[in-house]
Symmetry: C2
Subunit: 386 residues, 2 copies
């Protein structure tokens, strides 16, 4: 039997790494008060860091993402969530870049979060975990970057909540990054955005299994609430057009059989989405991370653009034509603010039928845009080296 | 103390009426099979029927509406849900028209529904209530019309699910009505429409208090699920624009205080919407009535327009520019189908910032359109009388 042909566009087998970035001697002081004495971060890396340590691309994940952005973990045939973007020859080309992707603070895939054990009490934090802020994500990302010995990132890249982290980072510490890619993101959620997230959280918190956040000790879990939250949110991640194209009014089985069970194909799809989500995500992380998005409003800070106006990293912002969760007005607002501060910003509205989730899709014009932007960043670095 | 000045634009004090329309000797045979041996209908009327019985306007309510469309019931200062449209001098002018508005079959405000007691068992129907179809609503409406001694309605008027009833009625029994007003409705839900309704129903049915639909006997109630369903649906009834204008990112209290409680004003609003909804609506009715909408697809029936093409009642269809639940394409589809059958159809796209709920709002251009259409209907009737 011939050996399987390795996929030359995949980063191949990857393994998560783990690092303790904050300790009682060096605690994480949080933006909204409080501190964490123990913070571990799980991350993956792809490609090789140059001896000059000047080819690092930092990936910030979205609300329900994790550190596994590309390649395959041992024993799994599920590629990383941004595998179509990251790999040899791909837009984030791992033959050129050293790519870092951590699980977020407050997440549930290895990095310290509300589902972690509080070393001070020996019990799961639950709602005792401190309220997070976009700035805290950046603080932890910077600590990881420092741990890897990198002074300046060639780029920071993220979509949705990931893009919001990129924006926060670029505004607060623009000297850390030469280039920033902000995809399908927002600098300020609308009332409708907040409303959808609020209902998702209500579904979780009103689930009797939530137990005031102490479901781990109770041995229960708010599966119902998290399922409802996911199904609802999932609709908002897609477009009406995409749902119509994929499912229309098609029956799931031989024909429609009116009743209250799953009958339309789109219903079966939502059930499936909820089920796979329960296996990989935690209700407390959903609360904490989604709430950070609600409060994010960086341009409301006095002097918000003072630092970035000095350093002026290159920024690429993209939105997608059918994204109604964060439509083009969200991207255009942050573009206008950055532009007003003299930052060189490229904005692209990418035609796509896939709604907000477009940022995860291999859309040629989108991928070409990111590739060109990062390659230009590489070329500029070459110039700097000389 | 002077007596309060009566409001000359209100129909004033109204009282619900009750009639048993179907009995074991004259059961209601349902479109999808099964029958109901006992059907009571609660309705209200406003204005006076002419001796010729030719000035009746029938109002069909939406998913969460009821028979109380106008005026005030004894002891309440809450006007009917369409009080801005119906009354002396209003578009549905009760000095000219005799207006009838029943609670829907399957509803929970007096008309027989899944929360009623099944006379055969002495227990609440729950999920033993038969699956309903749009045609069943029309059957019951026609029985009520006959009970009132009316052969032909001057008009049938409805918004959203109400408009879908109007369409069904006009297609199946076009000779019953001279004019039809179909507002913010659809002849076929999209996958996205079905998806939102499916999630709402899941929230209800997964609530432990639902007890497989037997919550009445169990003494529980799926308040959590119904609240989540309502909050989510309510977002879809409004527009992002309306939510931004009304709430923006305003705090509910003195300032934002990050946490998981109600903090943004829009969150407080959603909570309030859920609370008042629990007081007036029933989870089983929500399931039954919303599911009728999912399956409604009248133009898919062979010969769907054969009857209406013969009779050709006048049809007015309206949509609202910011309605994203049933956007203009929904109205335009049914308009095109009716137009193709030779039916005289007037279509108006009404500018409004209020989303789907616009059909409940006193928008001048909308009200003027309905007024003109009904007045023309009156004028035509005058011509017929001569």
């Amino acid at each position: 039997m011939p050996a399987p042909v390795p996929d030359p566009t995949s980063v191949g087998l990857v393994a998560p790494q783990n690092v303790r970035l904050f300790t009682p001697d060096h605690p994480l002081t949080l933006a909204r008060g409080g501190r964490l004495d123990h913070v571990e971060v799980v991350y993956e890396t792809y490609g090789r860091l140059t001896p000059e340590k000047d080819n690092a691309v930092f990936i910030c994940h979205a609300l329900t993402g994790d550190a596994h952005a590309a390649g395959f973990r041992e024993g799994s045939d599920k590629p990383g969530w941004w595998d179509n973007l990251i790999g040899p020859g791909k837009p984030v080309d791992t033959t050129k870049f050293f790519v870092i992707c951590p699980n977020l603070l407050g997440g549930c895939q290895g990095t310290t979060g509300p589902g972690s054990v509080n070393p001070a009490t020996g019990a799961v934090y639950g709602l005792d975990f401190p309220i997070l802020d976009m700035a805290d994500f950046v603080t932890v990302h910077r600590a990881l970057t420092a741990h890897l010995g990198i002074d300046r990132l060639l780029a920071v890249v993220g979509g949705s909540l990931g893009g919001m982290q990129v924006l926060e980072w670029a505004l607060r510490f623009p000297a850390d990054l030469a280039n920033a890619v902000i995809v399908a993101a927002s600098s300020r959620l609308t009332a409708e955005n907040i409303a959808f997230s609020a209902v998702a959280r209500e579904a979780i918190m009103r689930d009797p299994g939530f137990r005031g956040g102490h479901y781990a000790e109770a041995g229960t879990s708010p599966d119902m609430g998290l399922s409802i939250a996911r199904m609802m949110a999932h609709i908002t991640y897609l477009s009406g057009e995409a749902l119509s194209a994929k499912f229309g009014r098609e029956p799931q089985f031989d024909g429609l059989a009116p009743g209250f069970g799953v009958d339309f194909a789109v219903e079966s799809y939502l059930h499936h989405q909820a089920e796979v989500f329960l296996d990989r995500f935690d209700a407390l992380s959903y609360l904490y991370l989604s709430r950070v998005m609600d409060y994010f409003d960086p341009f409301a800070r006095p002097g918000a653009t003072a630092a970035i106006a000095e350093v002026r990293p290159n920024v690429l912002a993209c939105s997608f034509t059918t994204d109604w969760r964060f439509d083009a007005t969200h991207s255009l607002r942050l573009v206008a603010r950055l532009h007003g501060a003299g930052v060189p910003v490229t904005y692209r509205s990418i035609p796509s039928s896939q709604g907000h989730d477009s940022f995860l899709m291999p859309i040629p014009r989108y991928h070409d845009t990111i590739r060109a932007f990062l390659d230009r960043g590489l070329a500029v670095r070459e110039g700097e080296r000389r």
